[in-house]
């Protein structure tokens, strides 16, 4: 039985991971913004077999509360074996372009709050020489594109940060898993027309849980995104700047 801290438990991907852990009988600690909705998720996870589910509603942008949050999770479960960081917002690129505040806010939510949590968790796991940290980054972080470079830039920071952290923590027996999902059919992407490239959150979650079990490093989900991103990152800027996607 694992003790799993899920930060951003309302994310559809995180919720589907939680369903898999619940079915295994794991202990879960859910951190989310919306009290009513996370209650719904918690009841669901209890029925699915989670041995315990605790809820903590906080706004993760209040970074001075992160220590308190981690303490509370450790106390509730008697320690933490796995942390899944999945919170985030899909930035509205157009309105970010018109507002410095909004741009910085998106960077704050999607990158800085994660960096803050990772710094604290890393030290705790390093000290006990055990644990797995999994962070949901994005293929959008592999190369900035006109259509969503604010979100992409934040995710690029998360990817680079976790890459360094993975190296640092390797000798302390702590695994850092970076997940790069492509397009996933979730409430966050409800307004996008879905095509062949879109994956279902339960499928993505299955891959994430396997990646955590096997302590993988960087994982593209679905796997074909690895190839797509290899190609996309290789396109010379001279050509890339003229492309319209």
């Amino acid at each position: 039985m694992k003790r799993v801290l899920i930060i951003g438990a309302m994310s559809a991907i995180a919720e589907h991971c939680a369903r898999i852990w619940a079915a295994r009988g794991d202990e879960l600690y859910l951190v989310a913004r919306n009290e009513a909705h996370v209650q719904t998720i918690a009841s669901d996870l209890r029925v699915r077999g989670a041995s315990s589910v605790t809820i903590n509603c906080v706004d993760l942008n209040e970074m001075d509360r992160h220590v308190e949050l981690l303490d509370a999770a450790e106390n509730a479960m008697g320690g933490v074996d796995i942390v899944l960081i999945a919170h985030g917002t899909l930035s509205n690129q157009k309105s970010c372009e018109l507002s410095v505040n909004q741009t910085l806010q998106e960077i704050q939510t999607n990158a800085l709050s994660t960096v803050s949590l990772l710094t604290l968790i890393a030290n705790r796991f390093e000290a006990k020489r055990d644990g797995t940290i999994c962070v949901i980054s994005s293929v959008a972080g592999d190369r900035g594109r006109a259509s969503n470079y604010v979100y992409g830039a934040a995710k690029a920071m998360v990817t680079a940060f976790t890459s360094g952290l993975r190296q640092r923590l390797h000798k302390s027996n702590v695994a850092v898993v970076t997940i790069k999902p492509g397009f996933v059919d979730t409430p966050m992407t409800a307004e996008f027309k879905k095509g062949l490239l879109w994956a279902k959150p339960n499928m993505v979650a299955t891959k994430i849980v396997i990646a955590i079990d096997k302590k993988r490093e960087e994982v593209y989900v679905p796997a074909f995104w690895w190839l797509m991103m290899q190609v996309i990152t290789m396109i010379p800027n001279k050509i890339f700047k003229k492309m319209g996607f």
């Binding site: 009841s43 029925v47 699915r48 409800a190 307004e191 027309k193």
Partner: protein
């Protein structure tokens, strides 16, 4: 939270351009209903025809949570968008099963109620809705109400089997069936003609599960030859359940694969392969959901899609009438890959529920103009026999047929009117059948 796309039922016919509304939670549901004009709820899109087609559909994918499960009493409450397969993952290893299950586990809980689905135990256990204890739903007014046998019973009996036309189900409570094992003792009986098949149903009416595969292409003396499959929950063997992801057919196959010659061979082989009076113990999943192993077998019918025809005819003159239907189907040469025969028990009091006492026959037709003409001819024959056609399978029934064979349709309309459903909930099917 909306975009436009092409949708269709499981038969891939008819198709429709639709705006998909996907509320992120049940809490967001009633805001959407209040805001939008006419919508229809859509779950897995597993009804065959156009009952979940409309210009605006309300996709319930994110309303898929368990609410409560009492392991001692077997009462389960869950949101409407959860699929039966997910429910099975949770209940079977704890000693419970669905009291009634359709032939696929890929339908939503809400869809099962809206279609008031039946299973191989209809003659004993009735329909799915008969085990539903209460339903929470959003009305056309945006109001959330609870309905059950005791609370707003008129709404309850219109909603079970009401094809989503009375409102949108948020969640429901169902009484599950206790089981002692996840295994099924299956017995196979071969019946060499329709009389023998009906007699076999009669002889085995106390068996919990019974269904027959019928060879629709057999003519003459062999007309209606069938393989009956009887089943009982085993008394021992543990609660192992293996729920795998299915193998998918990635694209529409050339429909030549389903030519009448291949079908004849398939049906014939099935008949000859079966062993008479053969008993074996099989796991629950392949017993109840054999086709779920292939993710999208509907694509076997190619791009044009297929129609399913399921009718029920009364027991009186049932054998003679079934013979007439089978003759008509055999002569059309368009009959199907999958043909199922079953004896139904008594009808329930739900206003639009399909099952009535008698024999039900279900089969597929590849969509062609002549198949639609055949279906209309079969439909007319069924009306003459005092039977009816299943709304969940239907894509082509004519308004007059519907109104003649579902005599409570006017009562259904007045319940819809009373609860503010008219103008708020409609589907391509409800429009075709002349409902307001």
């Amino acid at each position: 939270m909306t975009f436009t796309t092409t949708i269709s039922g499981w038969g891939n016919y008819p198709q429709q351009e639709a705006q998909l509304l996907t509320p992120s939670s049940c809490a967001a549901l009633h805001a959407v209903i209040k805001r939008e004009g006419s919508v229809i709820a859509r779950g897995m899109g597993r009804s065959y025809g156009d009952s979940a087609n409309a210009p605006k559909v309300l996709q319930t994918s994110h309303c898929d949570h368990f609410v409560e499960f009492d392991e001692k009493t077997g009462r389960l409450t869950a949101e409407a968008g959860i699929i039966l397969r997910e429910i099975l993952k949770v209940i079977v290893h704890r000693g419970w099963f669905l009291p009634v299950t359709p032939g696929t586990s890929y339908v939503t809980f809400g869809g099962a109620i809206a279609s008031d689905v039946h299973g191989k135990n209809h003659h004993i256990s009735g329909t799915f809705g008969q085990h539903v204890k209460s339903i929470r739903m959003v009305l056309g007014t945006g109001e959330v109400v609870t309905t059950s046998e005791d609370e707003n019973p008129d709404l309850f009996h219109a909603t079970c089997g009401g094809m989503g036309l009375t409102g949108v189900i948020i969640s429901a409570t169902i009484q599950l069936l206790p089981i002692r094992s996840s295994l099924i003792n299956q017995k196979t009986i071969k019946a060499d003609c329709i009389e023998a098949a009906c007699e076999a149903f009669e002889d085995n009416s106390s068996t919990t599960y019974s269904v027959a595969w019928i060879d629709c292409l057999a003519k003459g003396k062999s007309l209606g030859r069938s393989v009956l499959m009887l089943g009982e929950h085993a008394e021992s063997g543990g609660f192992k359940i293996d729920i795998k992801d299915p193998v998918s057919i990635p694209f529409n196959t050339p429909s030549a694969l389903l030519s009448s010659l291949t079908m004849k061979t398939f049906n014939g082989a099935y008949w000859h392969k079966a062993n008479h009076n053969h008993t074996q113990t099989v796991p629950l999943m392949p017993y109840f959901y054999p086709l779920d192993a292939i993710g999208n077998w509907n694509k076997l019918y190619g791009k044009s899609g297929f129609l399913q025809f399921q009718c029920v005819i009364p027991k009186d003159d049932g054998i003679e009438n079934m013979r007439k239907l089978l003759t008509e189907i055999a002569e059309s040469g368009e009959g199907s890959f999958l043909a199922v025969l079953k004896e139904f028990g008594k009808a329930n009091i739900n206003l639009l529920s399909f099952p009535t006492e008698g024999y039900t026959l279900a089969l597929d037709f590849k969509v062609t103009t002549s198949a639609i003409i055949t279906l209309h001819r079969l439909e007319d024959m069924v009306v003459g026999m005092g039977g009816r056609v299943y709304l969940t399978k239907d894509a082509v029934m004519q308004e007059a047929t519907f109104k003649a064979t579902y005599p409570k349709w006017e009562e259904f309309e007045s319940v819809r009117d009373k609860y503010g459903a008219i103008g708020k909930f409609s589907s391509a099917q409800s429009k075709r059948l002349g409902l307001a």
